[in-house]
Subunit: 179 residues, 2 copies
């Protein structure tokens, strides 16, 4: 977010995004960080969400995710709470435990957007999910042993597959996430 | 890229990026796609690049990558050739074989940017790499058995780690990439 001359020259301020020039480099700035949930159910299924995404003009398969505050004063706990609310809203699953895994840039040459990966565990189904009134989200709980074929089939059908899903799957194999 | 009214309303056109509003959603459009190289050396090392990235204001560890043409008429072969040139320029390794793995959105809620993952194999070292005159790139060839610890150490040191690296590592385990 541009808040001083040191952060560059504001080219255009949209409602949600800012186009900024900094050190002769154009970038997009966003006011929030994105919490990205790595959530395995007790039956060893990974939770994924399907929705139409306007920027890529297609239906996508992604990890559950949502914008969370990035104001000074947003404490670790508040960020995790917000991530848990996003998970429940999108998927209908509530997490007994939320842990920060890793903060990663979405596209380091393009934007200051940071994906905050959060491991959600001790999951309990409490609703249907589907997102808020403005969202049209389909929830998928995909068993671990089927995930590679499942994603390959969706890709063949023309869905856009978020590569962060594969990061989550890698961590589940190295023991960094996934019960 | 915005080229008709159907693609939305252009809010601002920078030199490289366009801010667009489409169906009441703000997004960033870019004229090129990004080729992202998954490259394992004959010694079973994965090639990574380190550089300072202005948007995230920190040094990053990423897969080798570069912008390639996305004009109508850019053929598959031309895209792969461009990806191979980027690999050689950044890392000093030339690929005998280049195969398209998967096209994935960088951040489907934010931008139309597509990361075109390319598997580079039959590698031969032909130079030092380091990028072009405007770039300051450090090349790392990290053995497979050390990669998890190596990345964890860099993360601890404050480097931003591109999550697409973990996707590449996952594919190397499922046999989709990595010799």
């Amino acid at each position: 977010m541009v808040d001083s001359k040191d952060n560059g020259r504001l080219l255009y301020a949209g409602r949600y995004l800012q186009l900024v020039e900094r050190d002769d480099w154009e970038l997009v700035s966003r006011r929030h960080r994105v919490a990205v949930l790595v959530a395995w159910t007790p039956a060893d299924e990974i939770l994924l969400v399907e929705q139409f995404r306007i920027p890529v003009a297609s239906r996508t398969i992604e990890l559950p995710a949502g914008l969370v505050g990035d104001q000074p004063g947003s404490e670790q706990e508040a960020l995790l709470d917000a991530a848990g609310r996003e998970l429940e809203e999108e998927t209908g699953w509530r997490a007994g435990r939320l842990e920060r895994l890793m903060d990663c840039p979405s596209s380091a040459g393009l934007t200051d957007e940071i994906a905050m990966f959060v491991r959600a565990s001790e999951l309990e189904r409490v609703g249907q999910g589907g997102g808020d009134a403005t969202e049209d989200i389909v929830v998928h709980a995909v068993p671990r042993r089927e995930i590679d074929d499942w994603l390959a089939a969706r890709y063949e059908q023309g869905f856009a597959i978020d590569p962060k899903i594969f990061a989550a799957l890698y961590w589940s194999r190295t023991g960094q996430a996934g019960d």
